[in-house]
């Protein structure tokens, strides 16, 4: 496994194993927001090590807990994974279902705030995520 991936995992307190490295590597190489099953398919095909679905699920959960990945839920029933852990938003193409990362700089009028009176000011907003929906032009 590559030195960089190994360092990344170690930095997050995750013991580097071939399976973990290859799954993390795959997620770093794509912007397609794959599901667990898509990760399993993709990684199984082109892999020096064998891989079971259980390990894919265990590994994805482990990497999410460690902060290497984030879990993205846009449709009910399945989770998607994203190695882009910096604060960002998503655009969902409602025709293809594709999910595209949107950097905060690409959204005008950020940062957002709730009005002072929101619920008597009883809550602190720590973060927010925006999901845009739309279609390809033309």
């Amino acid at each position: 496994m590559s030195y960089e991936i190994e360092q990344l995992l170690l930095k997050h307190g995750v013991k580097p194993t071939p399976q973990r490295a290859v799954i993390a590597q795959f997620l770093l190489s794509t912007h397609s927001h794959p599901t667990a099953d898509e990760v399993f398919q993709a990684v199984s095909e082109s892999l020096p090590v064998p891989l079971s679905r259980a390990t894919v699920y265990n590994t994805l959960n482990c990497l999410v807990e460690a902060g290497v990945l984030i879990e993205v839920v846009v449709e009910p029933g399945k989770s998607r994974y994203d190695a882009n852990t910096s604060q960002h938003h998503h655009f969902v193409d409602t025709e293809s279902g594709k999910i595209i990362d949107v950097r905060p700089e690409e959204v005008k009028n950020l940062p957002l705030k709730l009005s002072e009176g929101f619920l008597d000011g009883a809550f602190d907003v720590e973060d927010y995520r925006i999901t845009f929906f739309g279609k390809r032009k033309g």
Copy 2:
């Protein structure tokens, strides 16, 4: 079933039945964003008609398709339902898991736009939803 609920269902092209009316009624009466199972529990308890889980699922899907409800997904694995169909956002209390509706007027800096250059201007944004995360103060 009440006249108003009946009219609401008819207006959306849904044939009013006791089960549908009572499920719609329950969702109109709460802001708790219940899951299908919570709807089943709540409605089963205080009900003149018997009710099966299949009917709850069928009905919720039917009401979502008809535009009477919206489906809200904040956690993987289960859908939640909301009779507030006007465009709005959500605040998730990360300690209790509670979901609170946020009216657009309560968010400063709206409306949002993507910058002109976003993906070469290839997409039209039709809508967006914001999910805020935070905690109760103190």
